[in-house]
Symmetry: C2
Subunit: 477 residues, 2 copies
């Protein structure tokens, strides 16, 4: 839809209908468009620019830990997918099948990768012979396909963009270390760059990845009190290695199986940014991830010298990601548009400001307006961007803390789930049956057993059996 | 295969068997591996790092011309692919078809994108209403699938990585301007960054892209005298716009069709780098695209102070992409490995060098060895890298010039094609029938009608009819 039509409509208030608010924001902030391909989306420039920044930041952090990028085929022959039993059971029901190449039927059908463990195993089997070939710490940036029934932009779509790291190690210890290391990279990235606080922990047996020995996760709380799994890291032990025959000769000349991990983050993170930071005026982007950090809006731009001064100011602020909106829309329209798109700072400059050697700086996160002398605007903008980043994280953290509850017994648990959207901390027996009963009765799922455990009692909040772990529960996307 | 096995084998000489030499280099320089998916490859770290640099350099140049990145679905519903007649005829025979999603057959089958004109048209149809929405200058980085029968790593594979730009403009002039602009971006990139000289020109009617009004191309000459189409830019006129109904309201309130272009470059460029610059010791990478520009090899590295000095030197050279090979392989082995991988400069430093405050710098392009004082090594390395880049371009240009021939009549043409691998310049009538006859008789194809035309006569080299254009002919990959 052309922009002029879209911007005059208001977005739904988040208090009134959070799901509709979300849809309005993704469309009106020009992040995506729907397509003729059901369940798939177009990621438009404003949305893709966020992904590019996520990629650049994550990729840098990966490479600092020794990760190398590769690219594997998008197709997986059916026989390869079937090699690891749990894995095929987990993924086969939701893959897209290619049956014809050109005009001819294929001898063996292939799925479009839903994830690439099997391909990496097939690759590593040839690549690894000796301990000298280890570790392998490879990653790829690509798209994957999962044939979901219900889809939502960024949160759950039939095709999505992600990175998938796949590593092979000589020992179980080293694999475990890498699994945790990457979860920590993810957590730091979310907190430092996206300003999203996360809970680090382990998934239950039921919720772990198909084929993994252990799945670690970071869980974030959205504004509506629902949880979003934001990144996962899996330790496979030697299960895949045994299924695929990936062995190496050790230093003392024995044949050993490798130990493997995988870890991934997706375009879902864009959904998290929207649902953690957004408000009724639209998107709010943390400065470190914002493709444009500062938008200069000339006021009365036809007056002599205004556009020149705006350009000069842009030059002065070139340490930041800065643009000038010199389109022929009126300033009020421009303000609304940049608020919708979540640009952290707006700088208004008109003839009177120029005369007084100042500009008006407006913060997106709290609406504050600050008069700044043009002499010190460079430093001031830097300080404000830092402050916004910090403020956004603190606000999100406060929101999570205020929406995290302790349930000491089953009645409290049910009451919280029904009346207080957020995380519920409770003791849990560790049994899949009990976990399924909790979901059945309340629709809450286990989110993670946090690495930082608290002792809230001795018995399971639901079944009363001896408690094994403190678990975060919640309704989730 | 583990590295220690591979490196002891020699690669085939390029004079003896160029095709085998190419295969040896891609495998032994660790660029790719074959996979269980027929016709698809793994791009390994050394290969993917080259692609990452190509992406970064091209993407920067695109954005300087106003390009914005987006991401569209990888699937195209059959009905959408069929909307433009020439386009579907060109691509339908070589696409992969998805027929099932999860356990159910799809209502309509979809192909995996072989290229995304139809999807962009479907998107632009909703996106464009008024002249204010124009131009749209979008690009995506993704993989595409074409079900080729014969495949070769990088040059022709069933899945490959590329970028595809798709633009929409108000006028035919603007579309033509963008088509040529992007071809020029490609040509400059090839010449400045990859050190590959290219011929810019137009494809014949027969060789143009399915659905295009005009296809422009850059053609490069490989070391064996075969041509490689290295990038193309297409002007679609309003053909797709009419098939898809993409109209806008002009300033004077009339409904008009948009004019469109598309342009793409692929991982095939890595094949071009190998075949233009490589030699019998392996890959030779131009400094501007080399993921590692300088490899420091400590000699007698167990002697006190050697590794420390190597690390210090790395720090000193941090303006370049520099690494230290401190593995426990012997220096001779390391030298061979880095030659195979095409690293532009090797710096050897051992106890005696340290004592004399110097290092030995070895050029990959010509084997020259230069003693350099450690005091001025930083500047010297910069000069050498520049010189290698320049030298490699000049060498490739000389090779092309020496292998470009003029055919004044049909006997000369046949003689050149049979005996002198390279480009043949000749006058041509412009008829598809004649072009097909030439291919039939000699296996040479039309490469391009260069923008810079020369008058070599009045009649077609083959049929004797009046000549319309000077054409470059050649055997091609």
């Amino acid at each position: 839809m052309a922009k002029d039509k879209k911007m005059v409509e208001q977005i739904t208030s988040m208090e009134k209908d959070f799901a509709q608010w979300y849809t309005d924001v993704v469309l009106k902030a020009d992040l995506i468009d729907y397509t003729s391909v059901k369940g798939c989306m177009v990621i438009k420039p404003a949305g893709y620019a966020i992904w590019e920044r996520i990629q650049a930041e994550l990729d840098k952090r990966f490479k600092e830990t020794g990760v190398e990028n590769v690219y594997l085929p998008m197709f997986i022959p059916e026989s390869l997918l079937q090699k690891e039993k749990d894995h095929v059971e987990g993924f086969a029901p939701e893959v897209a099948w290619v049956t014809h190449g050109g005009l001819n039927p294929l001898q063996e059908r292939m799925c479009v990768r839903p994830t690439s463990e099997t391909l990496f195993c097939d690759f590593y089997k040839n690549e690894i012979e000796s301990y000298r070939d280890l570790p392998k710490v490879y990653n790829q940036w690509c798209s994957v396909v999962r044939w979901e029934k219900e889809t939502r932009p960024f949160l759950r779509s039939r095709e999505f963009l992600w990175q998938e790291g796949h590593t092979a190690h000589a020992t179980a210890e080293e694999a475990e270390e890498r699994t945790v290391q990457m979860l920590n990279v993810y957590a730091k990235f979310c907190e430092e760059v996206l300003a999203i606080p996360v809970i680090k922990g382990q998934k239950s047996e039921k919720e772990k990845f198909a084929g993994a020995e252990a799945t670690y996760t970071i869980e974030a709380l959205m504004h509506d009190g629902k949880a979003l799994q934001s990144g996962t890291s899996h330790n496979f032990g030697d299960g895949f290695a045994k299924a695929f025959g990936i062995q190496y000769t050790s230093k003392d000349n024995k044949l050993e199986y490798v130990h493997q991990t995988s870890w991934g983050m997706t375009t879902r993170l864009i959904g998290a940014i929207i649902m953690v930071h957004g408000d009724d005026s639209g998107l709010v982007l943390p400065p470190r991830i914002a493709p444009t950090q500062v938008m200069i809006v000339p006021v009365m731009q036809k007056k002599e010298g205004v556009l020149e001064k705006a350009a000069e100011l842009k030059e002065k602020l070139s340490a930041y990601r800065v643009k000038v909106d010199d389109s022929d829309k009126n300033p009020g329209w421009k303000f609304a548009e940049q608020e919708m798109r979540g640009i952290p700072l707006r700088v208004e400059i008109g003839p009177r400001d120029i005369e007084a050697n100042k500009a008006l700086v407006v913060r997106r996160d709290n609406g504050e307006k600050i008069e700044v002398s043009l002499d010190e605007i460079d430093t001031k903008i830097g300080e404000l961007l830092e402050d916004i980043q910090k403020n956004m994280f603190e606000k999100a953290l406060k929101h999570r803390e205020e929406h995290t509850y302790v349930a000491n017994n089953w009645d409290e648990f049910k009451d919280i789930i029904e009346n207080k959207p957020g995380f519920v901390k409770a003791m849990w027996c560790g049994e899949t049956e009990c976990e399924e009963a909790i979901k059945e009765e309340t629709s809450a799922t286990t989110r993670c057993m946090p690495f930082t455990q608290e002792n809230l009692g001795d018995v399971c909040v639901h079944c009363g059996k001896p408690a094994r772990k403190m678990m975060y529960f919640g309704k989730a996307y």
